[in-house]
């Protein structure tokens, strides 16, 4: 195990702490958007996929990488779009368009 791996372990542990603390503060109201948000963020595999798809040494890297890029990108695009679509719906007061409701 190299020293770099050790520090990466610190990064992992600290990030997990941050994760636990951040998530425990998300109210149940937003649990579904939370699930799709983490889904979008898990598209970060894109980073590894891009390197593989752009490699100049092996054709197999390009092919596997290309599929991986497509898959990860579905995650990213789909995830962020759908999260935004959901969050857009959460409002404190209904917008003016619906004039019916009696409460001010």
């Amino acid at each position: 195990m190299s020293f770099i791996t050790v520090i990466q372990l610190y990064v992992f542990v600290l990030a997990a702490f941050v994760g636990f603390m951040v998530i425990t503060r998300v109210p149940p109201l937003l649990h579904t958007p939370l699930m799709s948000a983490t889904n979008a963020i898990s598209g970060i595999s894109l980073v590894g996929s891009l390197v593989a798809a752009g490699s100049g040494t092996h054709r197999i890297s390009n092919i596997l990488g290309c599929i991986a890029v497509a898959c990860a990108m579905i995650n990213v695009v789909g995830g962020f779009v759908i999260t935004d679509r959901m969050l857009k719906m959460f409002r404190r007061k209904p917008d003016g368009a619906r004039g019916g409701s009696a409460t001010p």
């Binding site: 963020i41 970060i44 995650n75 962020f80 959901m86």
Partner: protein, 463 residues
């Protein structure tokens, strides 16, 4: 470190911070949207940073991949109805995990089929492919069950737990073998195969209604796979994003199990929650049910001054969120007050009801959590139960032999009168009878929730 590398690292660090800020913003609905835009910018930074990497020499494959991904992702994001959220998330996890797995497999292959890999890296790669592969098939199975392409019932077989444990042991054994000797194609491919199989066999025995817990757990696994990728290729943003996802998925699945008053192990190994289909097990022993006509129910609602709507899974099935809003509008027009009681595990996904009702333009300050709303039932004229069952079952409070005993419930039975919209006397997810339906103050309005609600709206309008 060259300036270019420094810039790339700065982009990754910024991306990590944006991801954290994005998730942090979800602690309040008003800030959430802007926060998630930040997270999206973080993702963009990570992508741009990676493209600047000197190891990338050819771009056509990348472009093809990005285009395909975008073309599939946009309709997936914009078209999928809110009611189909659980399966949408399930299938997405599958895609993400597939990407991680392919990166791992590729890394192993191009490094001389393991010959050029040291043990530390092999450990990370092994984790990545193991977790990645089982998440791929697991997510597909979960998707199948949620989309009802597969039977929702738990599928069990003899020696089920023994098979699962055996496969798990085999996978770990192969993994250990690979760490000792990374250049071992047999072990590598066998491990991938076994992991794929584990994903299938792990989800098959779990009932369709328990899928959200599984999906959340798979989210956690996908995160761990991404973090392992980070260790393998020495990339911190992968480690951080992976750890965030791992923590989030794990925590949510624990929260869900808790709110269902079941242990995590019971959800995963219990093969419970499949008996949703049949009629209630201990049904109607001499008790009678009072059914009500839409006309009478409409009168009751129209003249109520305090109404609490209790939505449940049936609301999602019937897609009745918009009609419920119309009904509330009618009641409010006549001077009544309408609130919504949201149980933490109403529906089939945490926050399910909130998303549906928000879609129907209902302001979120009318959606009250269980702890907030429960005291209000005492002063409530009519509790309107729309397709909810288990979350209003008083047996959770009173009957120690009930499987849901101890689960906190909505105190609907404290309301002055109760109207229940459902199609039949069938049981809900837990497959048990509900004494609430037999109480004198309860009136049943049978039929599909959407149809019944539309009738109610029409009746109130014509009053």
């Amino acid at each position: 470190m060259s300036l270019r590398d420094l810039m790339i690292q700065a982009a990754y660090l910024a991306a990590s911070v944006f991801f954290i800020l994005g998730l942090k913003s979800l602690s309040h609905p008003d800030k959430a949207r802007r926060g998630m835009n930040q997270a999206a910018i973080g993702m963009l930074l990570a992508i741009v940073g990676t493209l600047a990497n000197s190891g990338i020499v050819t771009y056509q494959w990348i472009i093809v991949g990005l285009i395909i991904g975008t073309l599939v992702g946009i309709p997936l994001g914009t078209k999928v109805p809110m009611t189909a959220m659980p399966q949408q998330i399930a299938i997405s996890h599958g895609f993400g995990a597939l990407a991680a797995t392919l990166v791992g497999v590729n890394e192993w292959m191009v490094n001389g089929y393991g010959a050029g890999i040291d043990r530390g890296t092999m450990t990370a790669l092994g984790f990545e492919t193991l977790f990645g592969a089982l998440t791929v098939t697991g997510s597909l199975m979960a998707f199948g069950k949620l989309q009802e392409l597969l039977p929702g019932k738990p599928i069990t077989w003899p020696l089920q737990n023994a098979t699962s444990l055996g496969l798990l042991a085999a996978a770990l054994g192969l993994f250990g073998w690979l760490i000792v000797n990374p250049a071992n194609p047999v072990a590598f491919w066998a491990m991938c195969g076994v992991a794929l199989l584990i994903g299938v066999l792990f989800v098959l025995p779990i009932g369709g209604a328990d899928m959200p817990v599984v999906v959340s757990l798979l989210n956690s696994y996908a995160g761990l796979a991404a973090a392992a990728t980070g260790f393998a290729i020495g990339n911190n943003v992968l480690i951080i994003a992976g750890a965030l996802n791992g923590a989030s998925g794990f925590l949510l699945s624990i929260l869900m199990s808790k709110a269902m008053n079941r242990s995590f192990a019971n959800v995963i190994f219990g093969a419970f929650g499949g008996e949703t289909a049949g009629p209630a097990a201990t049904s109607a022993t001499g008790l009678s049910v009072r059914s009500v006509s839409p006309e009478d129910a409409a009168v009751q609602l129209a003249f109520a001054s305090r109404v609490i709507v209790v939505p449940g899974y049936g609301l999602a099935v019937a897609q009745a969120q918009h009609v419920v809003q119309e009904l509330a509008e009618q009641i409010e027009k006549r001077g009544g007050e309408v609130k919504y009681a949201i149980h933490p595990v109403a529906g089939r996904m945490p926050g399910h009801m909130n998303v549906l009702l928000a879609e129907a333009n209902i302001p979120y300050d009318k959606l009250l959590d269980m702890d907030e709303i429960n005291p209000l039932f005492d002063h409530c004229d009519v509790a309107l139960v729309v397709g909810a069952n288990d979350v209003v079952n008083p047996a959770a409070r009173t009957d120690p032999s009930s499987p849901i005993y101890g689960m906190p419930i909505l105190n609907v039975d404290k309301a002055r009168s109760v109207i229940v919209l459902k199609r039949s006397m069938n049981a809900g997810f837990a497959g048990i009878d509900n004494a609430l339906f037999y109480e004198p103050k309860t009136a049943m309005l049978f039929g599909d929730a959407k149809a019944s609600l539309s009738r109610l709206v029409a009746e109130i309008k014509s009053l």
